[in-house]
């Protein structure tokens, strides 16, 4: 073919509207502009470089996993700088503390860095303006920076002409750098082009498994099937006889708490993936399955149920719930259950490592390259400075790829084998050795007075907390309980929440929106149950229970403090006006109240963002439940990239639907029963709604989370719609278990 890939990609670029940001080559090992070696031009910090030819490079220190961080952060910074987006390159940062926190997690990339990244770009702008002011011998106050130049009326000097002079000026203090007013930020609350689109649609985008090094072997690992299991002995002869298999290596044995340690077992290394997989299937391993081999999801569910039927440890308390329950005209009570959920990113975990001269270099689809370096250094017993972590594209992550276990497996094997190694997880490995979202049972109890008003709310929750993966723990922490227990705004005079015992028998991790998934499912369903018990419209009852627009104090919540996703309560209070606002917008869009459709509603605040979801369900041709349309309204404060915010919410509806319809990893004998997509089902295109309407509130408030908060209200909205259609109340996920989907 005469035309090269690069020209073709260039052609695709030209098909976009003007004003796009160009993507860098996929992440790799080439020298970075941000390396100290290339200091020509202006580089006031590690995030921005203006070259003498005017080329602007912006470093993206967060991982790209579909949320569009590589499309959003550079556009935001280009705005603040006054750069022409077509002359901005994006460079993917390696894992390095000089970038600050790089853990792409907690829906935090924009909300935590909004001011800091703008300031990094504004600092470069102030220096370019100062250089122009010196050149023209005028006051910098009279100058403006836009369109890749500094302007004094009609006179201008381009960024390229100013870069070297600006680079010799002192870097101003943060307090002397003024950010642009919102009206000058042309890209905020705009649909921004997807910079990595061309690389993705041509197959050029490099994910973790796509990195190829000379002499690289592929490793597939037989891991202990049960958490805490061990290899007793193994026979590698038949595995080594498979053509292409080069080595069989015993992995280090993990010790509880498991944290990010490699999972143990036996690795088969071959010169291609197929041979490694075949070799693994020929391994003869004797396992000691350990204490968790008795773990059984059905009996554990009964344990959790017993646990929430006894009083637990108080997590919040207002008024006197017991007295209200004792004098209630009516008590409504319901138990809810959500199983372990698996991440199943489309790309199973994969990482490539090279070890030479006491140093280790890895390429990984990781959400947290700094944590990967820490774990590699620990496993290899080398200083962290001797490790490098390049971040590839992430083929889905959802929290799974924050955990460094698969990266350190590759590092260990690269050293042992003396060759570069790619560790390739199979889908079966991914499902069997996940850091599952916690399994949960809740008991919700409400007291109604003679007029039917809700006078008491008691919520008991039992789940094995994430901290159990990292240390011996007694129970959930404040950060766990703020996800739909201690932070629920309720205009009810007596409220108490309790946590009940739940032991961990698998690795527990965080999955997109985490504990909010089951807490929102139970609370959102129970509010709907209370509405029906009272004979009220669910929307009216929900608004009544949330109460009037107000800032909810810690005293009203009945807690002494709230972690609030790392934000202060002053900057990000719990504002029932915003929660009511999204409920009003979502229900209005959906035509709530008109007859003829079975609608369900739920609303939830998480990661500081307020989201309301309405879904419509129907029976399909075979009598099964289907979601035909969904409406989602979100108030996330200032939103930069309107297009990615909308698509994250649209994706959250599908993600939440998968939990509601099919989600659930179950264990028998400590072993996960689901092995691949026929057993761990996900929503497919024919299951998807015909339409998902997303309304993102335009706001000047501080930015909140985008990636996760769309998920929690989806499952309860579906369950409530099922009740509206069929009169059947769903108190356990997935719906598949009830045989209705």
């Amino acid at each position: 073919m005469a035309i090269t890939r690069r020209e073709f990609v260039g052609g695709l670029f030209l098909s976009f509207a003007a004003g796009r940001v160009f993507a860098d080559e996929p992440p790799g090992a080439k020298p970075k502009t941000s390396d100290p070696a290339s200091t020509a031009g202006l580089q006031p910090n590690v995030f921005v470089h203006v070259a003498s030819d005017g080329q602007v490079t912006i470093v993206c220190a967060r991982s790209e996993m579909g949320q569009g961080v590589r499309s959003t952060i550079p556009a935001l910074m280009a705005d603040e700088l006054g750069a022409d987006p077509s002359r901005v390159r994006i460079e993917q940062a390696d894992g390095d503390k000089r970038y600050g926190d790089q853990n792409t997690d907690g829906s935090s990339s924009i909300r935590n860095a909004y001011d800091d990244l703008r300031r990094a770009a504004a600092t470069a702008r102030v220096m370019l303006v100062a250089a122009a002011a010196q050149r023209w011998k005028v006051s910098p106050g009279s100058l403006e920076a836009h369109d890749h130049a500094v302007w004094n009326g009609r006179r201008s000097l381009t960024f390229g002409e100013l870069a070297d002079a600006a680079g010799k000026l002192p870097v101003p203090k943060a307090e002397d750098v003024k950010l642009r007013p919102r009206k000058e930020m042309a890209h905020v609350y705009q649909p921004l082009p997807l910079v990595d689109g061309p690389a993705i649609v041509t197959g050029a985008a490099k994910f973790g498994a796509d990195v190829r090094l000379d002499g690289m072997l592929i490793a597939v690992i037989a891991r202990p099937p049960v958490a805490g299991g061990k290899v007793v002995s193994f026979d590698a002869r038949r595995a080594l006889a498979v053509p292409g298999v080069k080595r069989v290596i015993a992995m280090p044995e993990p010790k509880a708490p498991f944290a990010f340690q490699p999972w143990g077992g036996v690795a088969v290394l071959a010169d291609n993936t197929w041979a490694a997989m075949r070799g693994r299937s020929e391994l003869d391993v004797k396992w000691d399955l350990g204490a968790n081999a008795s773990y059984d999801s059905d009996s554990y569910r009964r344990e959790l149920s017993a646990s929430v039927h006894a009083p637990g440890k108080p997590a919040r308390n207002v008024g006197d719930v017991d007295a209200a329950l004792a004098t209630a005209a009516r008590v409504v009570e319901a138990e809810y259950h959500v199983p372990h959920l698996a991440h199943v990113p489309m790309e199973p975990p994969a990482a490539v490592a090279r070890f030479a001269d006491g140093a280790c270099e890895v390429w990984a689809s990781t959400q947290n390259p700094q944590a990967a370096r820490t774990e590699i250094a620990r496993v290899l017993g080398i200083p962290e400075e001797k490790t490098t972590c390049h971040v590839t594209f992430l083929g889905g992550a959802f929290g799974r790829k924050s955990k460094a276990d698969f990266v350190s497996e590759a590092a260990f094997l690269a050293r042992e084998a003396g060759t570069p190694v790619r560790v390739q997880w199979t889908r079966e490995d991914d499902l069997r050795h996940d850091y599952y979202n916690a399994v949960n049972t809740q008991l919700l109890t409400a007291a109604l007075d003679g007029q039917g008003k809700v006078i008491a709310w008691r919520q008991r929750t039992a789940f094995p907390p994430i901290a159990s993966t990292f240390k011996a723990v007694a129970g959930p922490a404040e950060g766990d309980l703020q996800q739909g227990v201690t932070d629920l705004a309720l205009a009810i005079p007596n409220v108490r929440a309790e946590t009940c015992d739940a032991a961990a028998h698998v690795r527990i991790g965080w999955l997109r929106s985490v504990y909010n998934i089951f807490h929102a499912f139970a609370a959102g369903s129970f509010m709907d149950e209370l509405a029906h018990a009272r004979g009220l419209d669910p929307r009216e009852a929900l608004l009544e229970m949330i109460g009037p627009p107000r800032i909810v104090t810690l005293a009203e919540l009945g807690v002494s403090k709230l972690p609030n996703y790392g934000a202060t309560m002053e900057k990000h209070p719990i504002d029932t006006g915003r929660l009511r606002g999204v409920i009003e917008r979502a229900t209005k869009m959906s035509g709530w109240g008109r007859r003829g459709r079975a609608l369900g509603l739920a609303a939830h605040r998480s990661f500081l963002t307020y989201v309301a979801v309405v879904v419509s369900v129907v029976r399909n041709g075979s009598g099964k439940i289907a979601v035909d349309e969904a409406w989602l309204a979100a108030d996330a404060g200032t939103v930069v990239n309107l297009e990615r915010a909308r698509t994250q919410m649209e994706g959250a509806v599908i993600f939440g639907m998968s939990h509601a319809f099919f989600g659930g990893a179950t264990m028998k004998g400590g072993i996960t029963e689901q092995t691949n997509f026929h057993e761990y089902r996900l929503v497919r295109m024919p299951d998807a709604p015909r339409k998902i309407h997303v309304d993102i509130v335009e706001s000047d408030g501080p930015p909140c989370g985008i990636g996760e908060p769309g998920v929690p209200p989806v499952a309860p909205a579906i369950a409530n719609a099922v009740f509206a259609l069929t009169g059947q109340r769903i108190r356990e996920l997935p719906l598949m278990r009830a045989g209705i989907v």
């Binding site: 579909g66 649609v201 291609n272 993936t273 197929w274 390739q424 698509t647 599908i654 996900l682």
Partner: protein, 149 residues
């Protein structure tokens, strides 16, 4: 030695004839645009064309491709689907999109004006964990020159 055409170029492969085409493409030929997602023809991430027909390369022995013509995502050149995918910002993480595009390309080759049911049926075997299905549907219609609603 297995001879086959890959994206218009004749290739000779000295590999286990049982090796799935997926691994021959990725590990031996270095064409990493075709993705591994399940190994059991359950997710569609590995979809390629074999003599114009959609196959799941993860369960297709490379011997079955002998003497035939394989097209991967790297072999699509400026396809209307690729343009529609970019213009409408279909991908999120992007990992499943090679397979989605290859499946949709075969659909449009056979059925230039597909109905919604045709699109759903054709792409039912291609999973997307990010949830881009509605965008995919709309982009297939745009590439086919049909109204997106």
């Amino acid at each position: 030695m297995i001879r086959l055409s890959v994206n218009g170029t004749m290739r000779e492969l000295d590999v286990d004839p049982e090796m799935p085409l997926l691994w021959a493409l990725r590990d031996v030929l270095g064409l990493t645009g075709t993705k591994y997602g399940c190994g059991q023809a359950l997710c569609g991430a590995c979809t390629v064309h074999l003599d114009g027909e959609v196959v799941r390369s993860c369960v297709t022995p490379v011997a079955r491709a002998a003497g035939k013509s394989v097209t991967t995502i790297e072999g699509l050149y400026d396809h209307p689907l690729q343009r529609a995918w970019c213009d409408m910002a279909v991908p999120q993480c992007g990992f499943c999109q090679s397979g989605q595009i290859m499946t949709a390309a075969a659909l449009l080759a056979q059925n230039p004006k597909p109905r919604d049911q045709d699109i759903d049926q054709s792409l039912a075997g291609n999973l997307c964990r990010c949830g881009t299905y509605l965008h995919i549907r709309a982009a297939v219609k745009r590439a086919a020159g049909m109204p997106e609603e």
